[in-house]
Amino acid sequence: MQGFAQRQPAIGYKPSTDTHYKEVTQTHCALGKPALSVFDERRFKLYLLNNILGGPSMNSRLNMALREKHGLAYSIESVYQAFTDTGFIGIYYGTEEKAAAKARRIVLREIQKLGRENWAPCNFIWEKNKPLGRWPWLRKITPA
């Protein structure tokens, strides 16, 4: 069976900033932009980057910076979604209104650090030869 998705790359994106007042008790902030599509072979690298930045674990960069270190966000997460014509990366966090500006600066700083800091092996531990011990165990307990 051949894939039949024939989409044209999405074009014409322009960054924008919107602010709205709602019946909410805290400030909700989201930022995002287009990213890699399903046909880009680098998407797994981006998946890894997104996980490091704001994945579900407590030691993600954004969680450590915004929650653990500064105590500013009630929730913080980043997402990456690949589509056939484009992709999307986004970050969401909720915070107090008075802390919103500082939280935004911290989030942007963490994003910039991804591309600027030295990804030395001590910062990004290589375990290429480490057997994935969890994987055989999961196979064993999963019903056939």
Binding site: L31, L36, N51, S57, L132
Partner: protein, 75 residues
Amino acid sequence: MGKEQTIGQMAMAEENYSGLMLVYGKTLLDKGKIESLEEIFKKIRSCTAEELQDLANEVYDVDRFSFLTYLPKPV
């Protein structure tokens, strides 16, 4: 650490069979093939620090982000 953590999360997610089948179906429709988790793990493990940094500079461009903020209505 980052690589193995990501791979572990993906392995755990595979336990959700309905979710897994949806992912396989979507991949089959989009690309005409299914990539096994082993293939994906291999690709993740092959990432180098330089590749990640280059990709971060390309994709995570703060000047290209759009922002949406919901503020509480003033009382």
